[in-house]
């Protein structure tokens, strides 16, 4: 299915261009995650230490670098967020993890000075306990195929020259100078590229539909409103390689005959907004965007707009309403945005990741792209692997990769709440966020692709993969998603607005012990009604988490309803704490800890809990040193 040769060809594209760039280089990851862990301090420290050691530091890319100079640069998100701040040294191929300011002097002396590896800063594989020197022997990276993400962790996102030296804007030039709009649409159609934002609609067909419209004014929009809680691949690309998004937008604009582009970025991503704005300004300064693109006489303008915090704006027509200054409420389709979109003009809206693929397809031809992944879902997909796994972060793999490979081999296996590997801890993976479904242990060998996931009641969605261990209550998870969609429902369709509220109330009944035999049937019936009776993707998919957990974890729902029991102990209302009369030594610690005075008992005699006074807070269980409080 996967052509290794094709992958190597794509990943390596453009790298030979800058042969002079063989200068030693220290790359510090400056994604949101690493910045939160103090990457900027590390960067400053490197600047000082390298200068103090007598070596030359260069911060900007220059052609005339000499071998005793060290280039210090920042990169976008390298995806291994949990282990940040990450520092890589190239061409040595060393990756240091969790680097602190105080480690910098050692790296400068040992690695840059003496060419030695600082062992203690290397990543240690939690299963084999082996130290990994760089990307090649690190299971998290070695098993991925990072096409879109590769440059995110290597290029300086704030340096347009570096992007161009690595072949950037070549595809856009080709699109404007050598190709006709028909040819571009045809190439993208042939590649089989499908929208990475969730729906999986063929990108080429979307473009073609807008291209054939007879209109003097058309628009292209980049959808960077990544609202799925638990997904952050678009954030990474916008922060790490903003020019690839602009290049994709330019090609899309050329393909449909638009001269205005707009990037709609989520307000919660301030760094992505900043980097996108800077990239647009740099591209304008270099004459790549402007009145005369590549000397063709064609104009191209690009603007960055910040969203205002509404999940529903990820839906195309709602996003258009939002850009027009309205409440972000969807409208019925047809007419499709490709026919009548922003200001009534033909408009295409593409996801960030989709656009980031476009330039590669043009550079290498559709066949190479098509040879990766599965016939129905070609190419790679980035998944945001989070939750109870050892290695959380961004994972890019070809479509068709089995779930097991991602969770166990790349993710390093399931962990308990304390972060330790839990061998048989796998319970489920939620894929596709609040619109998706859950995958169970039976699906571990399911190849992840659009069709295969749909067949089991889940979807690729934006690519959020949240792993959950055995300690997670599936009813509570369904409630969590339902609460989210209920809050984010725009209120236009009655079944979505009221239905999600009722579904949430029913789930509360299950969790709080008020449910009876009818509740589960009602959940099922109402869930299906909401799917049918809603206009946009939000409502149509809102019941998915409930229906999917009911399908695969029915017995857990039934336990809540009939036995009034939650096997994970997460549902507080269903707990019935009891003191084990054999274990209890009557020390009185629990009596002191109980805030409501529900525990009584003589000293050195087993104590009792009065269920009427007990508020099930768990303070007694925490206080008891011999674990005599059970059922909480």
């Amino acid at each position: 299915m996967t052509s290794t040769e094709a992958l190597t060809q794509i990943a390596g594209h453009g790298e030979g261009i800058s042969t002079h760039a063989q200068v030693r280089r220290v790359i510090i990851c400056a994604g949101t995650g690493c910045m939160a862990n103090g990457a900027m301090k590390v960067h400053e420290q490197f600047k000082r230490e390298i200068a103090a050691s007598g070596m030359q530091v260069i911060l900007e890319l220059r052609a005339e670098a000499t071998s005793d100079e060290i280039r210090l640069s920042k990169s976008g998100c390298q995806g291994f967020c949990q282990m940040g701040p990450l520092v890589s040294v190239v061409p040595d191929g060393i990756l240091y993890t969790k680097v602190r300011g105080e480690d910098v002097a050692e790296i400068v002396q040992q690695t840059l000075g003496a060419g030695q590896v600082v062992e203690r800063l290397l990543y240690k594989d939690p299963t084999t306990r082996k130290s990994c020197r760089g990307l090649e022997d690190n299971p998290f990276y070695a098993r991925q195929d990072r096409l879109v993400l590769h440059e995110c962790g290597f290029l300086d996102p704030e340096d347009i020259h570096e992007f161009m030296l690595h072949g950037g804007y070549q595809a856009a030039r080709k699109a404007f100078v050598e190709m006709s709009p028909e040819q571009i649409c045809k190439t993208i159609s042939e590649s089989g590229l499908r929208g990475r934002g969730g729906g999986g609609f063929p990108t080429g067909r979307k473009w073609e539909a807008a291209r054939i419209q007879n209109s003097a004014k058309k628009y292209v929009i980049c959808n960077g409103d990544e609202g799925d809680p638990g997904a952050f691949m678009n954030r990474s690309v916008m922060e790490g390689n903003p020019h690839s998004v602009i290049e994709g937008l330019m090609i899309a604009a050329r393909a449909i005959g638009a001269n205005e582009a707009l990037v709609y970025v989520r307000a919660e991503y301030p760094l992505a907004v900043e980097r996108m704005r800077r990239a647009v300004a740099d591209a304008e300064r270099e004459g790549i965007l402007g009145k005369n693109v590549f000397g063709t006489g064609l104009a191209m303008k690009c603007e960055v707009m910040e969203g205002a915090g509404a999940f529903v704006c990820g839906e195309e027509t709602a996003m258009i309403a939002s850009i027009e200054g309205q409440r972000g409420m969807p409208r019925p389709k047809p007419p499709f945005p490709a026919q009548s979109g922003l200001w009534g003009k033909p408009t295409i809206i593409n996801n960030v990741e989709t656009l980031a693929h476009v330039s590669r397809i043009l550079n290498l031809g559709p066949e190479v792209f098509k040879s990766i992944g599965t016939p129905d879902s070609p190419g790679t997909k980035t998944f945001a692997l989070t939750g109870h796994v050892s290695n959380t972060g961004l994972v890019e793999v070809p479509f068709g990769t089995p779930l097991r490979e991602i969770v166990y081999n790349i993710g390093g296996g399931i962990t308990d709440d304390g972060g330790k590997v839990w061998k048989d801890g796998f319970k489920a993976v939620q894929i596709g966020g609040p619109s998706g479904g859950c995958l169970t242990v039976d699906h571990l060998d399911l190849p992840l692709a659009y069709e295969s996931l749909r067949s089991v009641g889940a979807m690729v969605g934006s690519g959020g993969l949240v792993a959950m261990n055995q300690g997670t209550c599936m009813v509570s998870i369904a409630r969590f998603f339902m609460e989210f969609t209920q809050r984010e429902s725009c209120g236009k369709c009655v079944l979505c607005r009221e239905g999600t509220r009722q579904l949430l109330a029913l789930l509360d009944d299950v969790i709080e012990g008020r449910a009876d035999a009818g509740t589960l049937d009602l959940l099922d019936k109402l869930g299906r009604a909401v799917q049918v009776g809603s206009l946009c993707g939000l409502g149509k998919t809102a019941p998915n988490p409930v229906l999917s957990t009911m399908r695969y974890f029915r017995e857990e729902y039934e336990e809540h309803v009939f036995e009034k029991k939650c096997r994970t102990g997460r549902c507080k209302a269903l707990l019935s704490p009891e003191i084990n009369q054999v274990k209890c030594k009557g020390c009185g610690l629990c009596i002191k800890a109980c805030p409501t005075g529900a525990i009584t008992g003589e000293k050195k005699q087993p104590h009792q809990i009065n269920p009427e006074l007990c508020i099930k807070c768990g303070a007694c269980a925490t206080a008891c040193k011999i674990h005599a409080v059970e059922g909480i």
Binding site: A36, E226, G227, A231, E268, G325, G387, G393, C490
Partner: protein, 186 residues
């Protein structure tokens, strides 16, 4: 909100709004960027400013209020000096973000309904996802992201800020007096 004392001088307030409106060309289509700029300036959207914007753009106030209330990013009430946002995205949620939220509410006496402390020092909010899922659970204190947070560390952060505020002898005392009438009534 009507009982809120107007901290900013009226004339000065509208001067800034006028310059924002001019910058955005006074087009109703630019309503969202306009409101974002205003909120950036005042930390929230004061009611009289919203009606002023409606008049300036020649749209009904209902349109402006409709937009301002639709999007989660817009606040119609003033926020505290320090805003603590707790991420409750899926990744943070399964890694126990709610105990962090509860610990902060307990520490500051705030709640789901009443998000700001009476002395206007802290506002506690939840957000759907900050995209820092690899560090879950995450909180953001005044735009500084803290990953892999525990209830204890979150409370310690609040203590640190409180200590800083006390040592700089800032105006929180005055703010508390000004706003003593604005108690939480949930």
């Amino acid at each position: 909100m009507a009982s809120m004392p107007i901290v900013v001088d009226r004339a000065e307030k509208f001067e800034k709004v006028v310059s924002i409106l001019n910058h955005h060309g006074r087009r109703p289509s630019g309503l969202i960027p306009i409101l974002q700029a205003i909120q950036h300036e005042y930390q929230y959207l004061p009611e009289e400013v919203l009606t002023y914007v409606a008049t300036s753009l020649d749209v009904p106030p209902a349109r402006v209020f409709g937009v301002a209330t639709f999007y989660a990013h817009f606040a119609l009430e003033p926020k505290g000096k320090h805003v603590i946002r707790i991420c409750d995205g899926t990744a943070c949620h399964v890694k126990q973000s709610i105990p962090v939220l509860n610990a902060l509410h307990a520490k500051l006496g705030t709640s789901e309904k009443c998000k700001t402390t009476p002395d206007m020092l802290f506002t506690i909010e939840t957000v759907a996802c900050l995209g820092a899922c690899g560090l879950a659970p995450v909180i953001v204190v005044d735009d500084q992201v803290y990953g892999q947070i525990t209830p204890e560390r979150a409370v310690a952060l609040v203590d640190e800020i409180k200590a800083q505020e006390a040592s700089t002898g800032n105006a929180s005392q005055d703010a508390a007096e000004q706003l003593s009438a604005e108690e939480c009534n949930d």
